[in-house]
């Protein structure tokens, strides 16, 4: 009997050990993580940015009020907030904050810092820029009854507000720093995050070391990290293969994955997910002839998305055809409806004939323009090559101009472009977040088409306040139809995320967004 029990317990132990995931191993403290960042941030300010280049750089230095629980995505959990409550009328959020938190410069963190941060996000002053102004426009007042409590009062019910509070872009800044200079976060790092800033060598790397007074006890596990800027994909993959970097957290193409798996075998961990990210074709409607809806529409109708997705998905991170909401998510427009919209027809021959007619009507049969694009190999370059080819098929001549992230963003933000490959970088499937990109430029500077359209603003507002899912979906589809009929901008294709890490990198969590999980607090090295 004893022998039987012994055998049984050994078998159970073996099964338990075999079933335990890698992440369930006991984390080891220490070590330095080198990882690749495939673009260099133009500045350090999360509020003024919408590129992962800023988040992969800044996230380890900062905390946010709430955040996503990645293994249970899209469940939300507290970061600086210990707990929160929502009033019965759904218009008041009360957050209880962690006590004893300190900024890296030693200043104690209080509710005043949350207030200052969110005031800057919803209504930036003193030359500061907030790309989240539209999403926080429902906040009426922020109150701080005591140092560990902050109360947000909303003008109206907003079903998306909790998701907005969990946004990784809401880095919490010190009220003292913002009072001294509203633009301080652009050039100065002072957060409450798990790592403190060591150095940023432009063109080379960013380095951080463990924040010994981090408020989450026992974290972070790493002693230090170094984010190395590897703008060339080939250089990044070689560095990954050679062990100079142990991870790249944004994503690689299927071909790059296959190459690395063939080269590294079981030393490499591959994780895949659909991606809350799409590339957009954006027209600057202030630049003739793109102020003519016929020209814009013709250019969108010339793009064979369905054929392109089949080919591009084999060689790049671009994959799914979809509208403004991620395909497959509950509020996305079904394919049967999507194909009726301009730019999504499956009869590309007919669509291109119509596009040519529109260009003729607009007197733009010999249209020539410059397509601005980012010089990131994946997937911006394939997208640029594809678009140039598609437009040539209706007789349009396009010069493809690729530049570094900083000048690319500067040109797009200042309106110094004609047509651009833009991106919609989301961190969840919330419709309000996705649609805010298309709000009038006066309400959201992230709308790079610079279009002001009251119909779109009105439909956005209606879907935001609508509690009935079916009705809300109706407003979203109406907005999408209006957007594509006016052809200000349109998603090209949605991405597919593939992340490669050395198997020695533990504790990092995969999600559908490369904007999440960048603080590295729970990452450790199994060496």
């Amino acid at each position: 009997m004893k022998r039987l029990l012994g055998t049984l317990s050994l078998a159970l132990a073996a099964v338990a050990f075999a079933a335990s995931p890698a992440s369930a191993q006991t984390p080891k403290r220490g070590g330095n993580l080198n990882f690749a960042i495939s673009a260099e941030t133009p500045h350090y300010d999360c509020h003024a940015s919408d590129t992962y280049a800023t988040l992969h750089f800044s996230s380890p230095f900062y905390s946010t009020l709430l955040r996503y629980n990645l293994p249970k995505f899209p469940q939300i959990e507290g970061d600086l907030a210990k707990s929160w409550t929502l009033s019965p009328d759904k218009k008041t959020y009360t957050f209880v904050l962690h006590d004893g938190v300190k900024f890296h410069d030693g200043t104690p963190f209080t509710s005043a810092d949350i207030k200052a941060t969110y005031e800057r996000l919803r209504n930036p002053t003193g030359g500061a820029v907030s790309n989240r102004k539209a999403t926080f426009s429902d906040i009426e007042a922020i109150e701080t009854p005591n140092p560990t409590t902050v109360v947000f009062k909303l003008k109206a019910v907003n079903a998306s507000m909790l998701d907005h509070f969990a946004s990784p872009w809401n880095c919490v800044y010190s009220a003292k720093d913002l009072a001294a200079d509203a633009n301080a976060p652009r050039t100065k790092i002072n957060g409450t995050g798990p790592f403190t800033f060591v150095e940023h060598v432009k063109g080379s790397h960013v380095a951080g070391k463990r924040n010994e007074s981090y408020f989450k006890k026992g974290l972070p596990y790493l002693d230090s990290y170094r984010g190395i800027f590897t703008l060339q994909a080939a250089a990044m993959l070689n560095a990954l293969q050679g062990g100079q970097v142990l991870a790249e957290f944004r994503g690689v193409s299927p071909a790059e994955r296959d190459r690395m798996v063939a080269a590294m075998g079981d030393k490499l961990r591959v994780e895949e997910s659909s991606w809350t990210l799409n590339l957009l074709v954006a027209f600057n409607i202030e630049k003739p002839p793109f102020n003519d809806v016929r020209v814009r529409k013709a250019l969108l109708m010339a793009i064979d998305r369905w054929g392109g997705s089949q080919g591009l998905s084999r060689i790049s991170t671009l994959r799914s055809v979809g509208g403004v909401i991620r395909p497959g998510s509950p509020l996305a427009t079904p394919e049967a409806e999507l194909v009726k919209l301009p730019g999504f027809s499956k009869d590309i021959k007919k669509s291109r004939e119509e596009a040519k007619k529109l260009l003729k009507e607009a007197g733009q049969e010999n249209l020539k323009f410059t397509l601005w694009n980012r010089n990131l190999a994946m997937p911006y370059t394939p997208a640029g090559i594809f678009l140039v080819d598609q437009w040539r098929q209706i007789g349009v001549e396009v010069e493809h101009k690729q530049s570094d992230t900083a000048p690319y963003l500067a040109a797009l933000r200042s309106g110094n472009y004609e047509v651009a490959v833009d991106f919609s970088n989301l961190f969840n499937d919330d419709a309000t977040l996705a649609l805010s990109k298309y709000l009038s430029h006066k309400n959201n500077p992230l709308n790079l088409s610079r279009a002001n359209d009251d119909v779109i603003d009105d439909l956005y507002e209606k879907q935001l306040r609508e509690g009935d899912v079916a009705k809300r979906k109706g407003f979203i589809q109406a907005l999408e139809k209006r957007l594509f009929e006016q052809a200000y901008q349109q998603p090209l294709l949605w991405w597919h995320r593939i992340v490669l890490t050395h198997k020695t990198v533990m504790g990092w969590k995969m999600s559908p967004s490369h904007n999440l999980g960048g603080d590295l607090a729970e990452v450790w090295l199994n060496q």
Partner: protein, 296 residues
């Protein structure tokens, strides 16, 4: 009785002379054929190329060389042979223009430096020394990164300038050496005594006598410029996709697919090597032809 000597033109047209040249300079003949083919392809690429070099065909991704696609297709299904043919235009335009600009400016500086001598010579040569301290590709990298892009008629002028600048000191140094010999010639003293201006003496009397080294350097640097253009495009600082350019064909998706589609790197690599080989040989032949010491 009169002795009828063949005119040089007639000699060149004589099939025997062509055969004689091929026998004497077999490598030179090969280089001529390659350069001629490259120039023909570059000039008449619209007629020669079997496909549109920019046309994507997702149904033909990574097709191996066949009768339909002689050099196969790339990751976008584009015909590699057509891209090579169009790429020869890019290589020639950038290679010849940057070599011409660099060599001409270098020759002018070299002749002026030799003619004026003294402090002017000293200053020009020290600047040339500084430029010579950097390898050609490194200096071109710095210049192209600093200047960014400035496209006129589909050609990046700053790329041409970036490649031309490192050529200047190399040509200036060689041409100066030749011009120092010319400066002490009696006819130059005579021109000076006759009161001719410096510019007239430089351009009318000295420059024509350093044409031989100038032409040799110009030809040799076309090869260097083609290589520099290919290198810069490979590094992402030269020509931008989807333009057909040999260096660019070796970068991007080629790095991901070269194992399953080796033709993606084989043919552009061969084209670059052949072009560099041909222009270098052509330079050697030109030197043999123009340098009197090699005629003895």
């Amino acid at each position: 009785m009169s002795l009828a000597l063949p005119t040089p033109t007639a000699a060149m047209k004589s099939p025997n002379k062509v055969v004689e040249f091929c026998q004497q300079q077999p490598l030179g003949a090969v280089s001529f054929v390659i350069i001629f083919a490259m120039m023909f392809a570059g000039i008449f690429c619209e007629l020669v190329a079997p496909y549109d070099p920019l046309a994507i065909d997702f149904a033909s991704l990574l097709v191996a060389p066949s009768w339909e696609h002689w050099c196969g297709t790339d990751a976008f299904g584009r015909d590699i042979c057509s891209r090579l043919i169009y790429g020869s235009r890019t290589a020639l335009v950038i290679g010849f223009t940057s070599s011409f600009i660099g060599s001409t400016l270098g020759a002018m500086l070299g002749v002026a430096s030799a003619y004026f001598g003294g402090r002017i010579d000293n200053w020009i040569q020290r600047v040339m020394d500084i430029l010579l301290a950097f390898p050609l590709i490194v200096l071109a990298l710095v210049v192209v990164a600093a200047l960014r892009k400035f496209v006129i008629g589909g050609v990046d002028m700053n790329l041409i300038i970036a490649i031309a600048i490192p050529i200047i000191p190399r040509v200036a140094r060689v041409v100066r050496a030749a011009a120092l010999g010319v400066r002490v010639m009696p006819y130059v003293d005579a021109a000076r005594a006759a009161g001719y201006s410096d510019s007239r003496i430089i351009f009318r009397h000295m420059a024509p006598n350093v044409v031989a080294p100038y032409l040799i350097m110009l030809t040799a640097f076309i090869a260097q410029a083609i290589l520099a253009e290919a290198s810069l495009s490979f590094l992402g600082l030269g020509v931008v996709e989807p333009t057909a350019a040999w260096g660019l064909m070796l970068s991007g998706n080629a790095a991901d697919f070269y194992r399953e589609a080796p033709w993606m790197i084989l043919f552009p690599g061969a084209a670059i090597s052949l072009a560099v080989f041909a222009f270098n040989l052509f330079g050697d032949v030109l030197r043999d032809y123009l340098d009197p010491r090699f005629k003895v």
